[in-house]
Symmetry: C2
Subunit: 210 residues, 2 copies
C-alpha cells in the first residue's frame, strides 16, 4: 500500500519516515492565503482542516511515470494558536523574537489538519479527515535564550516560531496530546483514518523506522 | 561547554543531537540489576533517579586522550510503569506481545531520571538531578498490529515494549508531559539543571539540530 504525501514540509516527511513509511512526495502548490481568504473567518481547527483538504485534492490528478496515483493521498496543514489568535511562520527575526517574549512560560495550541483520499486503483473513491490538537507549554526562557534561538534562524520558518524535534526542544516543557501533531502529522490519527478504509497500518511499512 | 553522556542509549544520543548538542559518549558499565537490588524496593521515580546517578558517577574518573573530563556529565535511566508495576525491556517476542495485549488502549507512566555532575576543570564540583514523568496513552491496536509490531523486533529492546520516535509512533495516541522524557531524556529538564549551575543552554549548542 503506497502513501502519497501532498505536503512540502520536511517535518511531516521526517515523521513518516521515522514511523516506517517512505511516502511518494507531491507538491500541492496551493495558494494557502487565497484559500483561507475565500473561506472567510475560520477557527484554527477549521483552517487546518480546510488547507489539508485543499492540498490533498490539489494533487489527485498527478501522473507519475505515466500512471495515475494508486494508493492513499495525505494532505496536512498546521497552525499555532495563542490567546485565540492564529500564528503562522514569523519569517523575520524581530517577529520571531517578539513572539517568544510573549509565549514563553505559557501554553498554546498546535492544530494539525489531515485529509486522506482513497485513490486506490487510480481514482478517488472516498475521503476522510481529522484534526489533532496538542497543548504546548513553553519554558520561561531568558531574553538571551530568545536571542540565541532566533539567531539560529530555525524559528523563522515554522508555525508558532518553535520546533519540538530540533533546536527548540529544550524550550518546550510540556505537551498534552499527540506529540507528532506538534510536528505536523499525527501518525496515530493517520492510522485511524486508514483503518476506516479497512487498511491496517503495518501494511504501509516500507522502511525500518527511525 | 562540553556535555558527556553516560549512557549507551541510541535514543538519548539522538535526542541530544536533534536538540543541537553532540555529546562525548561514555559507557558507564553499571550493573543495573545489582544497584537496584542493593537499594531494596523503590518507586519508579526513585529507581530511575538512582540508576541515572550511578551511571553518571561511574564515569567521573574517565580519562579521554590523556585528560580528565572537563564539562558536565549526564547520566540517564528510564522505566515504564503500568498499574503500579515497573517494566523494563521485554527481550522476548512472546513477552512483548503479551505486554501489548495488556497495555493497548490504556495509559502508563514513563519515568526518566537525570543526574548531572559539574565536572568542569577536571574535578567534580557539584551535582543535581531530577525525574521527568510523562503519561503515555496507547492506541487500542488489533492483535494483528501487535503481531506485526513484535515481528519487527523493535519492541524487544525498549522499556515498556514501545517507541514513540520510531515504528511505535502510530500506536501512541497521547502524551501528557515532556515527550522527550518518553524517549529517555527531557531536554527541558536538562536545560533547567544546567541553569542551576549558571550555564545557559545555547552555550551547549555545537551542531545544527535535527
Amino acid at each position: 500500500m503506497r502513501l502519497y504525501l501532498a505536503s512540502t514540509s520536511p517535518a511531516r516527511l521526517a515523521t513518516l519516515r521515522a514511523a516506517g513509511v517512505e511516502p511518494i512526495l507531491l507538491s500541492p502548490g496551493v495558494d494557502e492565503d487565497a484559500v483561507a481568504a475565500a473561506a472567510g473567518p475560520l477557527s484554527g481547527p477549521e483552517l487546518v482542516a480546510l488547507l489539508a483538504r485543499a492540498k490533498a485534492e490539489a494533487v489527485t490528478g498527478s501522473v507519475i511515470d505515466g500512471s495515475p496515483i494508486d494508493g492513499f493521498i495525505l494532505g496536512g496543514d498546521s497552525a499555532f494558536e495563542l490567546d485565540g489568535e492564529l500564528y503562522g511562520k514569523p519569517h523575520f527575526p524581530e517577529v520571531a523574537a517578539e513572539r517568544w517574549r510573549v509565549q514563553r512560560g505559557r501554553t498554546g495550541l498546535l492544530h494539525s489538519g489531515h485529509w486522506l483520499i482513497d485513490h486506490r486503483g487510480g481514482a478517488a473513491a472516498g475521503a476522510a479527515g481529522g484534526v489533532a490538537t496538542a497543548n504546548v507549554t513553553f519554558a520561561d526562557i531568558t531574553d538571551a535564550e530568545v536571542d540565541a534561538y532566533v539567531a539560529t534562524g530555525e524559528p523563522l520558518s515554522v508555525a508558532g516560531a518553535f520546533t519540538i524535534d530540533s533546536l527548540g526542544s529544550a524550550f518546550i516543557s510540556r505537551v498534552e496530546g499527540d506529540p507528532h501533531a506538534v510536528v505536523g502529522l499525527s501518525v496515530a490519527l493517520l492510522r485511524e483514518l486508514l483503518l476506516g478504509f479497512g487498511v491496517a497500518w503495518p501494511s504501509l511499512w516500507n522502511r525500518g523506522g527511525a
